[in-house]
Subunit: 265 residues, 2 copies
């Protein structure tokens, strides 16, 4: 048993952000979760809608946004401004002492502009190893604040960068794994990793690293889950204690150890 | 002499925010200023332009913005998102460990929605006495961070509020006056309080409280300066050590005690 204190890092995506009632319920449950915690939120559809209202066309390649200079302004406004501050104000309402952060704030997370190969993703940020400023984030956590990260980082030279929220959550988890017993919770639209993708009651409770290889080989888990699980086990290999994959609506079940699928060593 | 350490609170407005070259130069000088400091920035014209691009009409009464629900989204996006994070990323570039905050973050500044009398200002926030959370802001300052406040606050019940940046700066100064030797610097387009409003070299170096009454009676200072000076002396009456009024371009002269006009007890 380690002497480190527990830290839960929870990532929510568009299916929560875009649904005001679902978001409100989630934030109340998140606020009620005891102990040290960090929230990471993705963007949702608001940025795309506002970009469109401003006459900008959303350019996507393989599901990834191309972030030109104008689109960077929009995602910075929406993710780090509108969404982040609304989430923080609502958490404060529920008694959670949240502070909204981008990677630039406190130099918390640095990234590099994605190198141009076949595709120029524009101002998209890739997080390198050791880019998480554990010292700064520990200062927030140890002061009693709950950091709420939007999916915007910086390169340290004044450039903001649009960065995948899943990647931010996992980089934070790995970067803080030497200071805390980190559990990483990915919220998505299903109740967990399903044995039968069409049956939301077929949640697999625990997947151990050794099981994963066998599940892959036997094609038991759905193809689309493989990269998510791979990323989760990568984080576990780098010191994260557990990764959970489940439904934001069920966050209140986490303390009863009944939240989604637990991935572990 | 008090044993409190010094704290400089500097407010910049639209004339700096709207001019990228001027802003860049200012941020470099701000970053170079030693000791504890807080930056407060107003909005500038970007919010009005983006609102207009989104088909919203800016409604002003007596120079004050009417903030309906849609306009609140725009100012939250622009002030707390685009402007705040750009400023923070640029300060980080110059080695200043900035964190961007709204009043919701860390529950730093609460406000109340302005009561509707003749005019309904919408989601405009008024800061009441004791609305500054000195405990939270001290935690940021003592951790070595430089807070950068946008002109957005909250009411503690989940509602964000558009709030005058001059008022935020002065509320912070008064709220922190028992913990620090606070100097409050208002940057505007002139080099200081002028004896002759058409002569930028006619800066009055020091105005003491007793002088102010006489300057008012003799109509020596320009009519438009009276409310600014009145607010400054109100802050001084509430424990702020000095208030300076000067030009952002001259911030580098502050350490040589040559910045603008100094108002003092």
């Amino acid at each position: 048993m380690s002497n480190l204190s527990d830290l839960n890092i929870i990532k929510i995506g568009g299916n929560v952000i875009d649904d005001p009632a679902k978001l409100e319920t989630f934030l109340e449950k998140f606020a009620a979760l005891p102990g040290k915690k960090i929230l990471v939120h993705g963007g949702g559809k608001i940025a795309t809608r506002i970009a469109s209202d401003l006459g900008l066309e959303a350019k996507m390649v393989d599901g990834r946004r191309i972030t030109d200079a104008e689109m960077l302004k929009v995602v910075t406004m929406v993710y780090a401004g509108l969404t982040n501050k609304s989430v923080v104000a609502n958490l404060q309402k529920y008694g959670c002492d949240a502070i909204g952060l981008s990677g630039a704030d406190g130099n918390a997370i640095k990234a590099v502009k994605r190198p141009v190969r076949e595709i120029d993703y524009g101002f998209a940020g890739d997080i390198l190893a050791d880019s998480v400023n554990g010292h700064a984030i520990r200062r927030f956590l140890e002061s009693g604040f709950t950091p709420v990260f939007s999916a915007i980082t910086h390169n340290g030279s004044g450039q903001l960068l649009n960065t995948n929220a899943d990647t931010i959550a996992s980089a934070l988890a790995v970067g803080l794994a030497s200071s805390y017993n980190v559990s990483l919770l990915y919220c998505f639209e299903k109740d967990g990793v399903l044995l039968d993708v069409n049956d939301n009651t077929s949640v697999i409770e625990v997947i151990k690293k050794a099981d994963f290889t066998s599940l892959k080989e036997k094609h038991i888990v759905h193809e689309g889950m493989i990269p998510k699980l791979q990323n989760a086990f990568d984080a576990i290999n780098k010191g994260v204690r557990s990764v959970f994959i489940g439904n934001a609506d069920n966050l209140h079940l986490y303390q009863q150890q009944k939240f989604g699928t637990r991935l572990t060593d």
